[in-house]
């Protein structure tokens, strides 16, 4: 589904140039769950941001089911993003002024889904995420785990083809972290492609394939046998 070739990204400040991505090649098949790991500053978050069209690389190619995405303009990028992608962030990034229900509803509004259907979809996912009794609450009133579940729900409500998760368990304790990982696995099993950046090999063990980055290069790739066997 995703074909990334020779991706380059350089950060420039007045004094120094930092190469974040240095000719990355990466293919992701539909239905795959890929983890990206590596030390701090290896470029894994940059890669994820480029994949989410939140950042523009200097060179290379990024094809999403045969569509070249790097040549799109701003509006096309945001249109593509809202139709095909969902995001889960380390620090949840919920809008504080909106309730749980409204936070989840927001991407549907941007996708111009009619109100009655919106309500149905949001209620469905709230039930699935087990946060029904929280739907009228504001983010600050929830625990970290609950907030992340709301964030996952928001990422999923539009039924995106690709979910991008940036250290989704980074701000959670282990039990809440596991809950979120299990949620992602369930999601993956229903056919959603997931790309996740993580520091934790425990979290990575939930995925099909683990890619290791260092200094903007892919240095190794590992198929996660146990998980693949499970799949079979």
């Amino acid at each position: 589904m995703i074909k990334i070739e020779n991706l380059e990204k350089v950060y420039k400040t007045e004094e120094v140039e930092t190469t974040a991505l240095n000719g990355i090649n990466l293919h992701v098949k539909a239905g795959e769950f890929v983890s990206i790991m590596g030390p701090s500053g290896c470029g894994k978050s940059t890669l994820l941001n480029v994949m989410g069209l939140l950042d523009k690389p200097e060179g290379g190619s990024y094809k999403f089911i045969d569509t070249e995405l790097l040549t799109l303009n701003d509006r096309e990028r945001s249109n593509f993003r809202k139709r095909n992608m969902g995001f889960v962030f380390q620090n949840f990034n919920l809008i504080d002024e909106l309730t749980v229900f409204e936070n989840i509803e927001l991407p549907l509004i941007y996708n111009k889904v009619p109100a009655t259907e919106r309500k149905k979809l949001v209620n469905e996912i709230i039930e699935r995420m087990n946060i029904v009794n929280r739907s009228g609450h504001f983010p600050q009133q929830l625990s970290g785990g609950q907030q992340q579940r709301v964030a996952v729900a928001r990422a999923l409500v539009t039924k995106p083809k690709l979910v991008l998760a940036d250290e989704p368990t980074g701000n959670l304790d282990s039990s809440h972290g596991n809950e979120v990982m299990e949620l992602l696995c369930e999601l993956n099993e229903t056919g959603t492609t997931i790309v996740m950046v993580t520091h934790s090999s425990h979290d990575a063990s939930f995925s099909n394939r683990i890619i290791n980055l260092k200094d903007g290069h892919v240095i190794s790739e590992k198929i996660n046998k146990s998980r693949n066997e499970e799949l079979i």
Partner: protein, 791 residues
């Protein structure tokens, strides 16, 4: 989406109550100030525009050259209107009327002094007043008839139908009420309560019957069939005096649009050069500036809070919002806040309007039934909302999602400098206003304290009415006033001493250049005039019973002597009106009857025995209680003429009216300048709040290293002091240019000193430091660990 955005806006407002209060309050005060000023401008602007064909209506002016200057005024001879109607092309109507005059109207035991006009039938055709009762085509035809305004009819007849009832004018003429019209609007130049036929005026004043071109006694109003005739008609008007007076014509005539009568009343060399419109432009600018300051405030505060909103922007962008929809969201938000502010502003306007009306002696009101008002209000609101929201919307929507979502601090350098520029702009306005206001007050004080040539305090004037005009009665009254102890001196004057009018160019003397035309004010004075008003006799003597020849004596003021270049003024022979040989017996020190800002004009005095006195001037006895003196005076006047209410006023109060324009300007710029400064302070408070927040960590580290609260305050204040100082530097030359232009209109003007500038600098600095310190003290005193432990 709309609903959701509105919810976010509301919750945001609620969560940051302090900020919201500053924001909405600032905007509301700005909008309210703007609304009041605009109401005032609209009020002045719509002067005389209530009539159907006001745009085709003109007032006849005459230009007369005298003292080397051209004087222009809307006084014309009684022959003007018929001549214009007959000879000037394209004229539909031409009317002659008197100017508004105070007269006694009685009915039964009701005695009312009313403002009246005598006019011909064309007058109500040109100025189509709204007739409530009576037929506009039939009025003013007879002689003994009268038209009343609604409120005057009510005053005199209560709720009875006034039609065909009678009233008495000056206790002489019994008049039948033939129509009732709606009250004349407050913003009209021709103000009256009763309208009577010109024929009645001619009957009462036989001298007015004779057609003549020499004495300017009427107001002539002309309506053209169409404005395409204007150029031709106006060109024809120019020579109208010459054609009719032939040998010794004194003036030109011109048509001045009725629409411009009020606002463009200043003439120079016979051409309209503005007038009140200049002041109106200042107010319009002030209204715009205050709104701008309020909007700038809003921008400042919204961008200062941007970091709180940055996350929201990031998330929205990440899940697919386009920049356009974010911009429209923020604009919607600012329009929404403006809407709340507008409602608040309404309340403020309604509360303060009666105060301003009292202060400025005008009748402003919000006309809720007028669709134009609502359109203007909507336009104002949207304008303010979009203007205030534009920069924050563009700025906030430009955030890059990954940066804000990663929790990185957004780089705020550029926005800080823009915010600084905005604060500088605000303080430029504020400093300008302080300088201008203080110079206006200086000028006002200077003009008021400038010696006017006589002592106006404890001096009262009583109108001479009815039987008081009889010489014996007047003399008796004067004696009684002195005897009663209420008055220390009493005299008479042929005109209200604080008003202009009655002048002549028909004076000549030996050695006069025959081509030179000098305009003299002429006044009749009674005995003891010099002592009563407290002026001085420079040379010669005053009129006296001891000199029976004084019927042929005149006196001059110093300005007249100077203008006439008389080396030996006493004994100089003067010809007035062609044949009378008069002798000058005394020279009086110059005293002001016209504008306190202009040089005193030449004045010639005659003994008021020759002509009736219009007022009795009384110097109150300083040893008596004023209120009991006044009571005594009223009683004596009433005894002499019981049919008229006593009309008495203090000279110093009447004199104050001369400063009405400048007082209005001073008061308004004081108030609205104050508001502008207040709003600017709110903006500064917001910025200080933001800066202190941003530098929390730096401040904490400094404190850990040993900085005192004072050090920190100094640190935070330094930046703002710099901004305000820069603003003052920009404001000074601007203010100098503006105020210099304003002052140049006055012949007597206060020199521009450094004081207003020092005042502006110190006021703005003190205010800025106070505002910033209130906020920074909190941060400076905070426990340093609070800011550091999260790092």
């Amino acid at each position: 989406m709309f609903k959701l955005n509105l919810k976010i806006a509301l919750r945001n407002l609620w969560r940051n109550k302090g900020f919201s209060l500053i924001n909405i309050g600032g905007l509301a005060i700005g909008l309210a100030s703007c609304m009041i000023l605009l109401l005032y401008v609209a009020y002045e602007w719509s002067y005389d525009k209530q009539f159907t064909d006001h745009d085709k209506t003109y007032v006849v002016y005459q230009n007369a050259v005298a003292n080397g200057k051209t004087f222009s005024w809307a006084w014309t001879p009684n022959a003007m209107a018929p001549e214009v109607k007959e000879k000037i092309p394209g004229v539909k109507y031409a009317s002659h009327s008197t100017y508004p005059n105070a007269k006694l109207i009685t009915s039964g035991d009701k005695k009312l002094i009313s403002t009246v006009i005598f006019a011909d039938q064309s007058f109500v055709k040109i100025l189509d007043y709204k007739f409530i009762k009576g037929n506009p085509d039939q009025v003013l035809k007879g002689i003994n008839t009268i038209i009343l305004t609604k409120s005057f009819a009510k005053k005199i007849f209560g709720n009875e139908d006034p039609i065909n009832k009678t009233v008495t004018l000056d206790n002489q003429d019994v008049l039948k009420v033939e129509a009732v019209i709606d009250d004349v609007p407050a913003n009209t130049s021709i103000n009256f309560e009763c309208l009577m036929p010109w024929a009645l005026f001619e009957k009462k004043e036989s001298w007015a019957k004779e057609k003549n071109w020499g004495s300017n006694i009427c107001l002539t109003i002309v309506q053209l069939q169409d404005n395409k005739f204007f150029a031709e008609a106006n060109a024809d008007m120019k020579g109208i005096y010459k054609r009719n007076q032939k040998d010794k014509f004194t003036a030109d005539a011109l048509l001045h649009p009725l629409d411009k009568w009020h606002l463009y009343s200043d003439f120079e060399n016979g051409k309209s050069v503005g007038g009140k419109i200049d002041q109106l432009k200042i107010f319009l600018m002030l209204a715009f500036c205050i709104l701008l300051i309020a909007c700038v405030n809003f921008m400042n505060l919204s961008t200062a809070r941007s970091e709180r909103r940055a996350k929201e922007v990031g998330i929205r962008k990440a899940i697919g919002s386009s920049r356009k929809s974010l911009i429209s969201q923020f604009l919607l938000e600012s329009v929404f806040i403006t809407f709340i502010s507008t409602i608040l502003a309404f309340a403020l306007v309604e509360i303060s309007l009666s105060y301003f009306n009292n202060l400025l002696n005008i009748k402003l009101q919000i006309d809720y039934g007028n669709i134009k008002f609502w359109i203007a209000l909507l336009a104002l609101m949207l304008f303010a909302g979009f203007m205030a929201g534009s920069y924050p919307a563009l700025y906030l929507s430009s955030f890059e999602p990954i940066k804000v979502l990663k929790g990185l601090k957004i780089r705020t350098d550029s926005s800080v400098s823009i915010r600084k520029i905005l604060v500088v702009i605000q303080f430029v306005f504020a400093a300008c206003l302080i300088v201008c206001t203080s110079v206006i007050y200086q000028q006002l004080k200077y003009a008021k304290n400038k010696p006017i040539g006589y002592d106006k305090s404890n001096l009262i004037q009583i109108s001479v009415e009815g039987r008081m005009r009889e010489e014996s009665k007047l003399e008796l009254l004067k004696t009684q006033l002195l005897k009663s102890g209420a008055a220390s001196h009493v005299t008479t004057f042929s005109k209200d001493i604080t008003e202009n009018g009655n002048n002549t160019t028909g004076i000549s003397w030996e050695g006069k250049n025959p081509n030179e035309i000098i305009l003299f004010n002429n006044r009749g004075i009674g005995d003891n005039f010099i002592e009563t008003i407290g002026t001085e006799l420079v040379s010669g003597r005053v009129f006296s019973d001891k000199f029976p020849a004084d019927t042929n004596s005149v006196m001059l003021n110093e300005a007249a002597v100077k203008m006439m270049r008389l080396k030996n003024p006493i004994g100089a022979i003067i010809t007035w009106g062609g044949n009378t040989r008069l002798t000058n017996v005394g020279v009086v020190k110059d005293f002001v009857v016209e504008s306190a800002y202009q040089k005193v004009a030449p004045m010639i005095f005659y003994s008021s025995r020759r002509d009736g006195a219009a007022v009795i001037i009384v110097r109150l006895n300083p040893n008596q209680n004023i209120s009991s003196s006044l009571e005594k005076i009223d009683e004596l006047v009433r005894e002499t003429e019981p049919n008229y209410p006593v009309r008495r006023k203090f000279v110093d109060e009447s004199f104050e009216a001369k400063f009405q324009n400048e007082k209005l300007l001073g008061t308004l710029s004081n108030w609205f300048g104050g508001f502008a400064i207040f709003i600017s302070c709110l903006g500064l408070l917001g910025l200080a709040l933001f800066m202190a927040e941003q530098r929390k960590k730096e401040i904490s580290i400094r404190k850990v290293l040993g900085a005192s609260t004072a050090n920190i305050l100094g640190l935070l204040n330094k930046d703002f002091i710099k901004l305000v100082a820069i603003a003052n530097l920009i404001a000074f030359p601007l203010a100098y240019i503006i105020i210099n232009k304003w002052l140049s209109a006055f012949e007597y003007r206060v020199p521009i000193s450094v004081l207003p500038f020092v005042l502006a600098l110190s006021i703005s600095l003190i205010i800025a430091i106070l505002t910033v310190s209130i906020q920074s003290v909190k941060v400076a005193k905070a426990n340093p660990v609070d800011a550091l432990k999260y790092e």
